[in-house]
């Protein structure tokens, strides 16, 4: 078996994975920011009187909003020094971005569903 062929195949597979993950990563991050900002706004500004703004929940919302973009930034910086190809770096950035933002997005969906049921 030709070892070069195997390496080429792995590279192709990684490129394919990076391309497939890109829209998922994009959607998760985008949804995380949209949901997070809406939630933070709702607890800090859009509360219904006579309620009061909830600072603790506001901080939680802000943290949840920036968690994904922060993970992406950190992954970008951490992979910079290593001898990784562009595809591998993109894969790691996509992976960390999706892994961190996915639970936030899911939690947001649960909140939305709960609010609509109540």
């Amino acid at each position: 078996m030709n070892p070069m062929k195997g390496e080429q195949c792995r590279r192709r597979r990684r490129t394919f994975l990076a391309i497939v993950l890109l829209p998922i990563f994009f959607a998760f991050l985008w949804l995380e920011v949209e949901i997070g900002v809406s939630y933070t706004w709702a607890v800090l500004v859009g509360y219904v009187s006579p309620s009061q703004p909830d600072v603790a929940l506001g901080i939680f919302g802000a943290a949840a909003t920036i968690a994904g973009p922060m993970a992406v930034g950190v992954a970008t910086l951490k992979t910079r020094g290593r001898s990784l190809s562009v595809t591998d770096r993109l894969l790691r950035v996509e992976y960390w971005g999706s892994v961190i933002s996915a639970p936030v997005v899911m939690l947001g969906f649960v909140f939305v569903v709960m609010a609509s049921v109540i």
Partner: protein, 176 residues
């Protein structure tokens, strides 16, 4: 004398690997991530501004009076409304109704002004500190027709039912 430690060696390998890449190869990921983060910041800011502009400060308690009673709006006294709480089911909060000369001190304190049997106005202080008013008027043989008008007064206006008259409450749409 040579110092050949593991970390020094690794650093050399890494920097060599970086040097061997083209300018695009070295900065492509940073550029993509940077652009994406700028896009996300713009989206977040847009959502925040959009929600801030679209929020309504109109006190929902102003809509709590309901339709004209059989005996005309004069029946709707503060005592009667405080007892009946007509909007309780959809406001989900108790509303305190006060006379036309008493000031509203918040979104759930409504100053009522029964101007005539077929004309009734209410005023309440919004959570933005502005005074909002609503005026209902009915007409026709059986008082079956009617219209509602709205007002948002300037800051500092005494927020009582007496300022909500046919002359001052003129807007067709509910102000925000």
């Amino acid at each position: 004398m040579t110092i050949d430690t593991q970390w020094l060696h690794q650093k050399r390998v890494q920097s060599r690997a970086l040097d061997s890449k083209s300018w695009i190869g070295r900065w492509l990921v940073e550029m993509l991530v940077g652009l994406f983060i700028v896009f996300l910041m713009w989206q977040g800011l847009s959502v925040w501004l959009e929600m801030t502009t679209e929020i309504t400060h109109f006190p929902e308690a102003l809509d709590s009076i309901g339709p004209r009673p059989q005996g005309g709006f004069k029946v709707d006294t503060a005592q009667h409304l405080n007892r009946v709480q007509p909007g309780r089911s959809f406001i989900d909060n108790e509303v305190r109704y006060v006379g036309k000369d008493a000031q509203s001190t918040g979104p759930f304190v409504v100053s009522i002004n029964p101007i005539a049997p077929n004309t009734f106005s209410v005023a309440a202080l919004g959570d933005n500190g502005r005074c909002y008013a609503e005026l209902m008027h009915t007409y026709g043989p059986g008082e079956e027709y009617g219209w509602t008008k709205y007002a948002k007064f300037a800051l500092g206006v005494t927020c009582s039912g007496s300022v909500a008259t046919l002359a001052t409450v003129t807007a067709r749409d509910e102000p925000q």
